[in-house]
Amino acid sequence: MTRFRGFTGFAVSLNVQDDMRIGSARVAIFVITAATLLAQHEFVPADALAGSTLYIANCIYCHGPEGDQIPGINLGRGKFKRASTDADLVKIIRDGIPGTGMPAQAMQERQIMLIVAYLRSVAATPVSKLPPGGEAARGKLVLEGKGGCLNCHRIKDAGSRVGPDLSDIGLTRRIVEIEQSILDPDALVLPQYRYFRLVTKGGATHTGRILNQDSFTIQMIDTQQRLLSFSKSDLRELVAIEKSPMPSYRDKLTSQERTDLLWYLASLKGV
């Protein structure tokens, strides 16, 4: 069973059966209640997932992970100054808005539609907010102390480079997504954070995050933070590790500690 990103409120799972039988996709679809954005296209969850990648790459630094960093605009809630339909949104993204900070985007229309799909999916989910009562300073202590997070993660110049870098996590991930990673890291392991284990013909074992591969070679950063490249013909074993190496913190931290940690992570906006 392959699970895709679990946005709060919906999940997609594919039950792929073997050989000649067809897999079926079970999708829970949310009814969009926001009246500010009229539905003109039907999207599937895979569109939102692909769109989130494009949103992070192209939009997030101005609009923020929730889409509400520009006054008067809340992309995540379907609130726009100049758009009321999908077509309006596509035009704005493609052509920009002259005289404003919104530039034209060099993207194909199909890619722009994926961003629209992502925005719709966000608008269909509850508002992602920090739980009350947290404090970023306390959260930093949790991260550096009891949480042991820097054993795998890096923030600016501190910590390990093997796991995902968290220096701008508050900018690139919604709060609900950060929270999910803390509670259930196996729910979504993005392909660029996959761990592989390999064993060379000489018997040496290396585990690390994959950086790239082709038919003949594989590149990784290992648990000792070394950039390594191997010839596949020199290996006797190469497997992807299915489970995330990150443990769940549901029981390792108290509720308050998790809240503080969330506040701290949400404050990390990069250099």
Partner: protein
């Protein structure tokens, strides 16, 4: 031999007789040349040249590179005639090069109309030649004849309306005194056709519509008026059997691509091979690979014609004229090319949309295999288990080699579609089910998540004999030679040679960009060269001296 300050005339320029049609159908007799897109009208993409062998291929060296100005995918297979290479610079420039050094003799620059709107690349896959004339199909649906000596246009005719989505992206096919082209534009609601033009004047000689008109046999396979914008495009070069005088063409998908609700019926002749009388364009037979297709399974593959022993229903083995076809839908077929009789059908990759054939060779579709609003998971995915990039048949090994995508699926999503002239008319689209290669080219895939391969199968049985797996999928064609060397490439930027008998890797070169063409080979003055396009460049290799 001319001399100039000690320089001598390069061997390339010693003989350049006009290319007769007899030379084209006898192309195997002059293996130093490459006279058609597929190397011959039987389209086996197999060369009799033997200078490069499994033992010495590791000594291949780069000879020269032609870097095109366009960054569009480079899908051309050039022609070589007596030391002169004729190639394309995307979208539709034609260039004549010295095949030994890569220096340019002349270049013809073509500016397509602003109305040109090819769906999937502003490019051309190549040229045809006859006499001292080259033929070029353009992305604004024109057919142009050029002089081989100086690149001057001889005539230039309109074949279709680019504002309606019509385009020509494949290399034309010359048959006797006619040049044949087909119309791309299946994503724009065209009504596809194949047309033949007199080589001397460009006058249209015949036209075959790939969708029958009102009252014609097969029109009833389209509900209502859906036939008028049913697609069924042509964008890969066909083949020709001189003994049967039949020309064979693979036809593209019906439109709208992913929503068949308003075009109920089999949708002939979409996703079919059609066999046409080469003189008149009349249909002799057809076989439809994917009736009422909703998965974009264009049958725009090269028809590979082979004469081989075949066991009949009486158990007797006799020589038979067959056609080998690895289809985008994941199935390998053997078809009698005289009659269209279905002889064999077998999956060559993972297939879930059908689970067998009836006694006439009609695929038995799984009832739930249909595009849907929420997405239906189907193997193979939208790009298919193979596609336009050419396979190869080696009469030496008796094997058929297929550029394959496997473990590859798509979620097929159906949406409403309204035909508007000049706009895409596709009715939804596929969604990825595995990590695509992101822009920077990083591959994070694991086992079971789509891969490419060069797959060798026994055409008598459809059984796989060997498989050369790659970590990424491939858009490269395959070339085989009589010395049992197989050349191909992939998206990772490797151009490689395998032993055609067993798939062992013999040599590879990193050419840096995606290999998106079918390799070809030629020789000049006894030296064999191998050519492939990758990125935006054409690379030529030969053995180290």
């Amino acid at each position: 031999m001319l001399t100039l300050a000690g320089a001598s005339l390069l061997p390339a320029q010693t003989s350049q007789a006009p290319v007769s049609f007899d030379r084209i159908i006898g192309a195997q007799k002059e293996p130093q040349n490459w006279l058609t897109y597929s190397g011959g009208t039987m389209s086996q993409r197999h060369s009799p040249l033997t200078q490069i062998t499994p033992d010495n291929v590791k000594n291949l060296d780069l000879q020269w590179v032609f870097q095109a100005k366009s960054l569009e995918r480079y899908e051309v297979t050039p022609l070589v005639v007596d030391g002169v290479m004729y190639s394309i610079q995307n979208p539709d420039d034609v260039v004549a090069l010295d095949a030994v050094t890569g220096r340019v003799f002349w270049m013809y620059s073509y500016t397509p109309s602003k109305e040109a709107r090819p769906c999937c690349g502003r490019l051309s896959r190549g040229l045809a030649i006859l006499g001292e004339t080259l033929f070029l199909g353009t992305i604004d649906a024109r057919l142009v004849a050029l002089d081989t000596k100086n690149g001057k246009p001889l005539w230039n005719v309109s074949v279709g309306k680019p504002e309606e989505g019509y385009a020509i992206t494949h290399a034309p096919l010359v048959v006797k005194d006619k040049v044949i082209v087909g119309m791309a534009g299946g994503e724009y609601g065209i009504r596809g056709y194949i047309a033949a033009f007199e080589v001397k004047t460009g006058k249209e000689a015949w036209r075959f519509y790939t969708i029958p008109g009102k009252g014609e046999p097969g029109n009833e396979t389209w509900k209502g008026d859906s036939w008028m914008h049913g697609g069924a495009s042509i964008w890969v070069t066909g083949s020709y059997d001189p003994e049967l005088n039949l020309t064979y063409w693979g036809v593209g998908n019906p439109g709208p691509d992913w929503n068949g609700d308003n075009r109920l019926g089999d949708n002939l002749y979409s996703d079919s091979v059609v066999a046409l009388d080469a003189d008149t364009g009349k249909l002799k037979w057809y076989y439809q690979f994917s009736p009422h297709d909703e998965f974009d399974y264009d049958s725009t593959q090269i028809p590979v014609l082979v004469d081989m022993p075949w066991q009949g229903k009486d158990g007797q083995t006799r020589p038979r004229k067959v056609m080998l076809w690895a289809n985008r839908n994941g199935l390998f077929y053997v078809i009698d090319r005289s009659t269209g009789e279905f002889l064999l059908g077998k999956p060559f990759a993972k297939v879930t949309w059908m689970n067998g054939f009836d006694e006439k060779g009609r695929p038995m579709k799984v009832a739930s295999a249909a595009s849907s609003k929420t997405g239906t998971l189907i193997f193979p995915g939208n790009q298919g288990a193979t596609n336009w990039y050419n396979p190869s048949y080696s009469p030496h090994t008796g094997l058929f080699y297929i550029p394959t995508w496997d473990d590859y699926s798509s979620l097929f999503v159906k949406q409403d579609a309204e035909y508007i002239q000049g706009q895409t008319f596709s009715g939804g689209g596929p969604r990825n089910t595995a990590p695509p290669i992101v822009t920077a080219g990083f591959n994070y895939r694991k086992e079971g998540e789509m891969y490419g391969s060069v797959r060798a199968i026994d055409p008598k049985t459809g059984e796989m004999k060997w498989d050369f797996k790659m970590a990424d999928v491939t858009d490269a064609g395959i070339l085989t030679t009589a010395s049992d060397v197989l050349f191909s490439g992939g998206r990772e930027g490797y151009f490689f040679a395998l032993d055609a008998r067993n798939g062992n890797l013999l040599w590879k070169s990193s050419v840096g960009g995606r290999v998106t063409s079918g390799p070809m080979t030629y020789s000049v003055a006894g030296k064999q060269y191998v050519v492939v396009c990758a990125g935006n460049s054409l690379f030529t290799f030969a053995l180290r001296q």
